[in-house]
């Protein structure tokens, strides 16, 4: 019994870190640009397809595929921001919402036409592998994703803290007008930030391709998942995404063990409602909105 609990909790922690990874891109974009990217899920699915294709064509290891997907999605995000999203930065949320729904539908439609509706599973052997420590089994694909999440968060935090660009980004997040006045190229900063956000989504998608089979209409599910995660942790905060993911992952795992597993999703929404009401900005929410 103790072993079962240990396994379940560890699996919850690992999947929680994966959730954190999926949510990271959303939180970066909101933290700086203050737009809520409802097309996030579609971008994660794009990453899944990159993971699937590179594995199938070139037998590329997942981690390399993830880097490739990150680079590709950076480009997509950068172009998307500077061509489209930039016009909507100061517009009300509901207009942004429609914009991103439109973008999401566009992505999903393209994926449906290109790949068809069939689930596209990763061919990577990683999807079956585990390491075993005294009866505790650790899923390698999740472990890899969890490690990558941690590294990515540290790297991003260091980038923001120590690089010039990072300082620009933080300045832009703190005070857009002030940044403009002191001559920070805000539009460019926004485009790069958006690119980093979508790159994180693509990176996450490819990295989890051994866990989830790519299918176009997964987009909405991933968007919702990312939302629950970042709101519980605090929209706009890196650590928040991590903590949010861990909270959701462990709560769901324990709930599935104790109650009917079909209700575990309800529990994460209930948790979200409670967190929103008690701490509207999440555990580590951005200071102002």
């Amino acid at each position: 019994m103790a072993l079962l609990w240990a396994n379940v909790v560890i699996s919850g922690v690992l999947i929680g870190l994966v959730y954190g990874l999926i949510a990271l891109g959303l939180t970066i974009i909101f933290g700086v640009i203050r737009v809520v990217n409802f097309a996030h899920g579609a971008m994660v699915v794009f990453g899944l397809y990159v993971g699937y294709c590179t594995g199938l064509w070139w037998g590329m290891p997942t981690i390399l595929a993830a880097l490739l997907a990150g680079v590709l999605m950076f480009g997509v995000g950068y172009c998307l921001e500077s061509a489209v999203v930039t016009r909507f930065v100061t517009r009300p949320h509901h207009v942004q919402f429609i914009l991103f729904i439109g973008i999401s539908l566009l992505f999903t439609g393209i994926q449906l036409i290109w790949f068809g509706p069939d689930p596209r599973p990763s061919v990577s052997q990683l999807s079956f592998e585990t390491i075993s420590l005294r009866g505790i089994r650790i899923d390698l694909a999740r472990l890899q994703a969890a490690c990558a999440t941690t590294v990515l968060i540290l790297a991003l935090a260091a980038f923001l803290k120590y690089s010039l660009f990072g300082r620009y980004i933080r300045a832009a997040a703190d005070n857009r007008l002030g940044g403009l006045i002191v001559g920070i190229p805000i539009p460019k900063i926004y485009a790069i930030t958006f690119g980093i956000g979508t790159a994180c989504a693509g990176f996450a998608g490819a990295l989890i391709s051994p866990l989830f089979d790519a299918q176009p209409y997964l987009a909405v599910d991933f968007t919702l998942l990312a939302f629950v995660t970042v709101i519980v942790g605090g929209l706009g905060s890196f650590v928040g995404a991590l903590i949010g993911g861990l909270t959701i992952g462990v709560t769901e795992a324990v709930a599935a063990l104790l109650f009917a597993p079909s209700m575990k999703t309800a529990l994460s929404y209930a948790l979200l409602i409670v967190v929103l009401i008690l701490r509207p900005k999440g555990f580590f929410g951005a200071k102002e909105v």
């Binding site: 509901h94 429609i98 973008i103 566009l106 929209l235 929103l276």
Partner: protein, 328 residues
């Protein structure tokens, strides 16, 4: 007025395809009006309107199918429950200062939570859904049962009432208070508006309104399942119409639904005909982007603006943007 008279007359001659298409258009316009009231006048963004739609649909279905009671009662009960749920949700959120986009996210969470709960609730059929018996063919206003044309007129009536009510509210004291509150909550509170109460009120009214639409939708569909009637899909479909048509205006939601839903079906038919499913999603996505790009206030204000350019009031968009700039 002229529009509705024309639509009513045409209802007698349209073929059954147009009838059933327009019935859905009217129903989504009607639900869209409730959503538009909440954001366009009350300033509260809901992205989880499926919650209210679902409550209405289930109230009608449960009372009708399980107890044989008239759907009128179901509509009444449904809107009472949805109104109460809306009030409770709003009370909780605003009590704890959940505002703006966070309130929107809270509504998503509430709707998804309800969806999962309903899908495990055996009394309402769980995921196996609830089914109405087949139509016998004769219409009955009391039991709200009838053929396609019957529902066309019911939906048309509903949407006409919706336009009337929206116009009335806009011109009433309530309308002015709500708009003041929407544009600057702190300032209106300083002027003595009990904003908390009014925010709860607008969410509650909108919820009750949407539930009526949900109940009618259930009758038209003939069966309901939690994942379709309470899913994210409904929440999104509901708000597209008003934004395309013109938020907060009397005719906006109807015009928006009249444009966007038939367009969606046309594109869908086209992508079927050339055998590329998914093309409709692409086209629909592009249309949405184009609308918010070129017609930021929606179609109806743009049309009106063309005729009455002098009298034109500052648009909602610019007002909200101004508010945001001030806050920042």
């Amino acid at each position: 007025m002229v529009l509705f008279a024309a639509l009513a007359l045409l209802g007698a001659v349209f073929n059954s395809y147009l009838i059933s298409l327009l019935t859905i258009v009217f129903l989504f316009a009607f639900i869209g009006q409730s959503w538009s009231l909440m954001l366009g006048l009350g300033g509260q963004l809901s992205i989880g309107h499926a919650l209210f739609v679902g409550i209405g649909a289930y109230s009608v279905a449960v009372l009708d199918i399980k107890y044989g009671l008239s759907p009128w009662l179901g509509l009444l009960v449904g809107s009472a429950i949805a109104g109460a749920v809306g009030a409770a949700l709003a009370w909780l959120s605003f009590r704890f200062e959940v505002r703006g986009i966070y309130f929107g996210l809270l509504t998503i969470a509430a709707a998804e939570f309800a969806r999962v709960m309903f899908s495990g609730w055996e009394f309402v059929g769980g995921m196996q859904g609830l089914f109405f018996p087949a139509q016998s063919g004769e219409s009955s206003l009391l039991m709200l049962r009838g053929g396609a044309r019957f529902y066309y007129f019911v939906a048309l009536g509903a949407v006409a009432i919706g336009v009337g009510v929206t116009a009335l509210i806009r011109k009433s004291f309530l309308g002015y208070v709500w708009r003041a509150m929407r544009d600057d909550e702190d300032a209106s509170r300083a002027l003595g508006v009990r904003t908390f109460l009014h925010k709860v009120l607008v969410v509650s009214i909108s919820g009750a309104w949407a539930a009526v639409g949900g109940g009618l939708l259930a009758l038209v569909q003939g069966s309901i399942f939690p994942d379709s009637i309470m899913g994210m899909g409904i929440s999104i479909d509901v708000l597209i119409g008003p934004i395309v048509g013109g938020l907060g205006t009397a005719f906006g939601p109807l015009i928006g639904a009249l444009i966007i839903i038939p367009l969606d079906h046309l594109m869908s038919a086209f992508s079927d005909s050339i055998g590329i499913p998914g093309l409709n999603n692409v086209a629909y996505g592009i249309v949405l982007i184009a609308v918010v790009w070129f017609l930021p206030d929606g179609v109806w204000p743009a049309l009106i603006g063309r005729f009455r350019s002098q009298k034109r009031l500052p648009s909602i968009r610019s007002q909200i943007v101004q508010t945001q700039e001030v806050r920042q």
